[in-house]
């Protein structure tokens, strides 16, 4: 997919009309993510229940369309899932971005698969993974 098509078909929608943008009170976890090359800053807030299921999650902060959209798509995917599942999805995403994902991995990525073409925009990879890396960090720093 061409850059412009990636924007048209996937990024713009999630950037202009994100489903999970905002703030929640009393999140279980909260984490900031920064992308130094673009000055993007996002904040992730997660509500996770006792069994490790992500009940709700939102992001806030400012950033480029790629990071915002990727973050929104990510939250679409992981809300309602367990932390283990979301870690598996993150791994699949990271491998996809490097062009190394298997067919099964692509499958569990659902809509996020459309971001595979970000691999053709190497300079934007950092934007695309910002939310994912931040989520990864949440779970890493909050090992049960």
């Amino acid at each position: 997919m061409e850059t412009k098509d990636i924007y048209r078909e996937i990024i713009n929608e999630h950037n202009l009309h994100p489903s999970h943008h905002g703030e929640i009170s009393n999140p279980t976890y909260e984490m900031d993510g920064v992308n130094p090359s673009c000055g993007d800053k996002i904040k992730l807030q997660f509500k996770v229940d006792d069994s490790g299921i992500i009940e709700d999650a939102v992001f806030s902060g400012s950033g480029c369309a790629v990071s915002q959209a990727s973050c929104d798509i990510m939250l679409d995917l992981v809300i309602g899932k367990s932390r283990e599942e979301s870690e598996r999805i993150t791994e699949a995403f990271m491998r996809m971005i490097k062009g190394e994902a298997s067919d099964e991995e692509l499958e569990i990525l659902e809509e996020a698969e459309a971001l595979a073409d970000i691999a053709h925009m190497p300079a934007r990879v950092k934007c695309a993974v910002l939310g994912w890396r931040t989520m990864e960090k949440i779970f890493k720093e909050n090992r049960q």
């Binding site: 480029c64 369309a65 790629v66 934007c127």
Partner: protein
């Protein structure tokens, strides 16, 4: 291709691409590329050390480059020219060598809020290590610096003032003469970061009142990996060396060393003679075009671009309202569009601009913008490129999903 200024730049022959990232690095004319290749093909050897013909010729070529740089910026003596890798290394050298040995607790260091990180972080370091204070000269939203700022932010305990001659974000020229005058009044040393000025205007270190002046070869069409530090001879002579090793010595014993005179004292290890030769060729090239032509073309292009941007809805540019004072640099933002996305979209039209904070985060915070897009032009750019750029700019918002 009707733009004869592109003739010597093979990379620019493909009209498909518009290169508007000249403030980051310029392109190299074939004269520079060939000068470097020619060095390797005919006299390559380690200069300064050899007693045979090639080494004598390498040494002469290297020292000739030094003299050429000295003349280019109005230095009195070629031994006031130290070759470094880039402006960043030059400033670090000043900070470590002059800064750490002359600045103490209770002293003050002044910079401006417009500085590139390379002219800020080294002074943060000196301030942290020595306990000296770090003071900022602020600017207006247009990039103007008032006389009061200069007076107030260079207090009498100031030991060093460092300022860019031209801002890499706003393109504005800073009132260096006024700043250096005040610096000298309080007995401070004046450092001028010429990374963005040396490519665009004649430099006279004496007229600037610069005790130190730095610039990068790669921003003035020379190869990467060669930079310049000018320092007043008396200062350089008083300073300890920075990097150690190689031919910068007079004699070495097991536990001690006596250092060579300036400039060798500051050039540790094998020098980048080919890079210096490339820089000499680049200076020849600049002088052959002439700064009058260079500024004339840049001014015309800036005027065209700024007038055009003014007519595009949701788009605003930063810096001076007078296009002629932009030194080829036009920094802008489109409402609702992150500069990174603007740059990616323009890239699909093969237009190369920069987006982000341009290594000037404090200035962006001062201006109240998280990031910006920057088109920076040089004399080899032309009007048709600016027009194509403006056409593309008009469509960015719709590509990013906005109704208009």
């Amino acid at each position: 291709m009707t733009n004869i200024f592109k003739n010597d730049f093979e990379i620019l022959h493909d009209d498909k691409y518009i290169y508007f990232d000249n403030a980051a690095t310029t392109q190299r004319p074939k004269q520079v590329i060939n000068a470097v290749s020619e060095f390797y093909r005919t006299i390559n050897s380690n200069p300064l050390r050899g007693l045979y013909k090639w080494s004598v010729k390498s040494t002469a070529a290297y020292e000739n480059a030094r003299s050429k740089v000295a003349e280019f910026i109005g230095a009195e003596d070629s031994s006031e020219i130290i070759f470094t890798r880039n402006s960043t290394e030059s400033i670090n050298l000043i900070a470590h060598s002059w800064g750490l040995s002359n600045i103490k607790e209770g002293d003050n260091i002044t910079v401006t809020i417009l500085e590139h990180h390379s002219n800020l972080l080294p002074w943060q370091m000196v301030s942290r290590v020595t306990g000296a204070s770090l003071t900022f000269i602020e600017c207006s939203s247009d990039g103007e610096i008032s006389d009061e700022e200069i007076l107030n932010k260079i207090p009498s305990n100031t030991k060093l003032v460092s300022a860019a001659e031209i801002s890499n974000v706003l393109g504005v020229r800073l009132p260096i003469e006024k700043i250096s005058k005040r610096a000298h009044e309080v007995g401070a040393v004046m450092v001028v970061d010429g990374a963005q000025s040396a490519p665009h205007k004649p430099v006279d270190v004496k007229a600037l009142g610069a005790d130190f002046f730095v610039f990068s070869g790669h921003k003035v069409m020379a190869p990467m990996g060669i930079g310049v530090l000018y320092g007043k001879l008396s200062l350089l002579e008083s300073m300890p060396p920075f990097l150690l090793g190689g031919e910068m010595i007079e004699s070495v014993s097991r536990y001690d060393a006596v250092f060579a005179p300036v400039p060798e004292k500051f050039e540790a290890g094998t020098v980048n003679a080919a890079g210096a030769v490339g820089l000499a060729a680049a200076i020849d090239y600049v002088e052959n075009i002439g700064f009058d032509i260079i500024s004339q073309r840049e001014e015309k292009l800036c005027r065209l671009m700024i007038e055009g941007i003014k007519t595009i809805p949701f788009t605003k540019y930063f810096g001076s309202r007078i296009p002629e004072t932009h030194s080829g640099i036009v920094t802008f933002n489109i409402e609702g569009c992150h500069p990174h996305d603007v740059s990616s979209i323009l890239d699909t039209e093969n237009i190369c601009i920069r987006a982000g904070q341009h290594c000037a985060q404090p200035l962006h915070e001062h201006l109240g913008i998280p990031a910006s897009a920057r088109a920076s032009m040089y004399f080899y750019n032309d009007e048709s490129e600016v027009e194509r750029f403006l056409e593309a700019l008009k469509k960015v918002r719709s590509w990013l999903g906005y109704g208009n």
